[in-house]
């Protein structure tokens, strides 16, 4: 008998919040995440070529990761998505809230099935949730490449 391991970083708390929310209010919570997504810092807003597109999402979204030179290799996440794409912004907001400022090892340990553990399939649809998988996969690839490069 093995129980599902809790999600890393701040993600389990977010998953618990969604699970506890009545179905009718789950979209409102996702909307709050979309509204809380921070704007891009100027150094990226002025250099959009530094951001990576996420074609898995239905709407245009770009992301970039930065990694500190500290012992934990702290990860910072930045996203850019237009206001007419609130669902995509909401996914980005969840990832930002749950993973920004966490160690690289924590970010890399997020299971690929994360989108399916947020109790959102019925309100959002599995097809739409694939966009979040695409974002997570790209974040993890960037972090993986950047920590490997830094170790050489």
């Amino acid at each position: 008998m093995s129980e599902t391991a809790p999600l890393p970083g701040g993600l389990q708390e977010i998953a618990d919040d969604f699970a506890a929310m009545p179905d009718a209010d789950k979209l409102q919570l996702l909307l709050e995440f979309s509204q809380e997504l921070p704007d891009l810092p100027d150094r990226f807003a002025e250099h959009p070529e530094l951001l990576e597109p996420v074609p898995e999402c239905q709407s245009p979204i770009f992301l970039v990761t930065e990694i500190d030179d500290d012992s934990e290799r702290t990860v910072h996440l930045h996203f850019s998505a237009p206001p007419e794409a609130p669902t995509t912004r909401g996914f980005a907001g969840i990832l930002h809230e749950g993973l920004d400022g966490r160690p690289a090892a924590t970010v890399l340990s997020v299971p690929a099935e994360l989108p399916l553990r947020l109790s959102l399939e019925e309100q959002v649809s599995p097809l739409r949730l694939r966009g979040m998988s695409g974002m997570l996969a790209r974040i993890q690839r960037q972090v993986s490449e950047r920590t490997a490069a830094g170790a050489e």
Binding site: L27, Q28, Q58, P60, A85, P86, T87, V124, L127, G134
Partner: protein, 301 residues
């Protein structure tokens, strides 16, 4: 009970069924008209929550019009329950609008048509035009009393095509592939900038002609004029309004847009939307597939 048609726009008067389109101004003028229900249907499931046309109700194609288990639409009882909960009556005038040039709005309208809801219209230009004109959006939830919508058997025979029919009629009925050129040729199995949706093979149904849906739309998302549309589908493609036509895309949303154009704006008599589309065809064993820019030939057996 039927609301009057929008007779203010000379463009609409040229269409085969002018009463199927209304302008943003018409909607603004009829927000409080009894018997008129405005419906928002979007690709982005949260867009309605960020603000919608005052009084508009939301209907989501993915989560509300589909059966949660079988790949099919809700049945008569399911549709009646949904309409009842949204406060839509059988004799109401339903005006649908949405994001993405009204793709999902057209898809919802097509599903309403399967249930024979007689007065269902699109708002020309959709959500983007309403916003661009600086019109009011609100997050206030509409309060509509529940209705008693009758249970109507869905009629899949007139405007919906299934795979066996498409397979049988290759070479006998014009097929229109409304996806992007790269999806048509088989270079990719999904929309540019869209998720991979699990088609194992790329290409198009043999004999299908490529007419991307967007050719029917102006930059602002409104439909092109009747003369422009006739030039595309009748003059260039050689289609006859009296003959049958089948349109498809990947899951039927973009081909609903083309279905609306052919059925209501140009008055074709027998247009079907093959909603299984490429996410079905591209996965089925031993169905014929053509690759490249040429339509390809019907298999002779």
């Amino acid at each position: 009970m039927r609301a009057p048609a929008d007779s203010t726009n000379p463009k609409f008067a040229e269409y085969a069924a002018p009463e199927r389109l209304v302008s943003t101004q018409w909607v603004a003028d009829h927000l409080d008209t009894p018997g008129v229900v405005v419906v928002e249907s979007d690709e982005d499931v949260l867009l309605y929550e960020t603000g919608h046309i005052p009084g508009a109700v939301k209907i989501d194609w993915h989560t509300e019009l589909n059966d949660p288990v079988t790949r099919d639409y809700v049945d008569g009882a399911g549709f009646a329950a949904l309409m009842g909960a949204k406060g839509i009556g059988r004799d109401h005038t339903v005006v649908i609008y949405g994001d993405k040039s009204n793709w999902w709005a057209a898809y919802a309208l097509w599903v309403f048509t399967l249930f024979g809801h007689s007065d269902v219209r699109l708002m020309d230009g959709g959500r983007a035009l309403w916003q661009a004109e600086g019109r009011e959006l609100t997050t206030a939830k509409p309060e509509r009393p529940a209705t008693d919508y009758p249970v109507i058997d869905r009629d899949d025979s007139r405007i919906r095509a299934f795979l066996p029919e498409v397979l049988e009629r290759i070479g006998g009925v014009p097929l229109i592939d409304v996806r992007s050129p790269d999806e048509y040729t088989g270079k990719r199995t999904h929309m540019p900038d869209y998720p991979e949706e699990g088609a194992l093979r790329g290409g198009h149904i043999p004999t299908a002609r490529s007419v991307p849906w967007a050719r029917a739309a102006n930059e602002d998302g409104t439909f092109k004029s009747a003369a422009e549309l006739r030039s595309i589908y009748v003059d260039d493609l050689g289609l006859d309004t009296d003959e049958d036509v089948i349109a498809y895309c990947r899951i039927g949303e973009r081909s609903s847009h083309t279905w609306f154009v052919l059925e209501h704006l140009l008055g074709f008599r027998g247009v079907k939307n093959y909603d299984g589309s490429w996410t079905e065809w591209g996965n089925v064993v031993r169905v014929p597939i053509a690759r490249g820019e040429e339509p390809g030939e019907a298999r002779t057996s």
